[in-house]
């Protein structure tokens, strides 16, 4: 099963996206912080796609992307950033950190699924 790894400190957002993605047939793993996400990946989770928030206490989403890109085996794993409306400089930071795309919260279920299908056409 195609697994999507959700990283967000908001329990509401996690549950919301989990419901949308599971209903569309995807498997979902979750983490509530950047640190927890790194630990989960180090323990062996190999998601097909990572979706992360930017603004989280502790390790933020941009730092998480940089960290994940530096870990063995995740250089080409697609990473989507899902965050509240933010200034262009943050988008540029995410792009420079090698994020795959950017979605603004609240994410419409159709938009989310369209982007996920675009990234994972065989998922």
């Amino acid at each position: 099963m195609t697994t999507i790894f959700l990283v967000d400190d908001s329990a509401t957002v996690l549950m919301s996206m989990e419901t949308i993605l599971k209903k569309a047939g995807y498997g979902v793993a979750k983490a509530t912080s950047g640190e927890e996400a790194v630990t989960t990946l180090e323990k062996g989770l190999k998601p097909n796609l990572i979706i992360t928030d930017i603004h989280m206490p502790g390790m933020n989403g941009i730092d998480l992307i940089r960290k994940v890109r530096g870990m063995g085996g995740f250089q080409f794993t697609p990473i989507l950033v899902v965050t509240t409306e933010s200034q262009q400089s943050k988008r540029d930071e995410a792009r420079a950190a090698k994020a795959t795309g950017w979605l603004v919260k609240p994410v419409q279920p159709d938009d989310l699924l369209k982007v996920v299908k675009q990234i994972l056409p065989n998922g």
Binding site: S10, T12, K23, I54, E85, W102
Partner: protein
Amino acid sequence: MGKAPDHEAGPRMGAKGTLTVLTAGLLSAFCAYLLGGTVAPVFAGIVVAGALVAGNWIGDRHRAQEVRLHLYRVADELVQYRAFTRLLRAQAERIVGLTGEAAMVIAEGLRDMDERVARLAEHVAEIEMEGDDRPSLGYLRGQVSAISEPVVDMVGKLQFQDVTQQQLMFLSRLSLLLDDHIGELTRLLGDRRSLERSARFKELFDAALDDTVMMSQRNDHHRATGVDFVERNGPRVEMFASEGEQG
């Protein structure tokens, strides 16, 4: 705030005035000595100058006490504003907590409802596969589908809570900033010897923008500070690289 002390009442003379009075008294005593040649006028002049200096000193002291009392009153008022900002912050945190819990309960309820409706749909499909072709089954299938249809959208809408939470926490940060500023002002009022100057509130307010990424908040800040500039948000969905480039 209480009535400001009347600074016009009582003697008004500073160090310069005191020196002038003392000099005038001694000068008049000296002149009297030169003209009259007796000690009595000199003594009288010195007494007059001394009385004037003493009066002036007492007046200065009285005025300083009044100013100090006034500053204490202002400091006391400021402390109450701090309580006000703390109350605002506590309320913001309470709203965040309550809406967070409510959003979770609603999301869980919707998900549970969706799962039950899905089981119902499966059951209807099984009955139809067994060859039952009653028209009511078609109607039931349509109703089940209609109930299920908006659930995902409703769950998606609950992400509002995360956005609201960030906005409230921004208000909370502003309140904290105001609180610190008031605390600093209170400290300076209580220590008049201090030559330090509290950071200007505008500088602190502008500094708050550094931690603010939401476009709407940044634009509200620009408007509040009179800056004629509107930041534009990018598209809601933006792909940075094609799938091939990402591997």
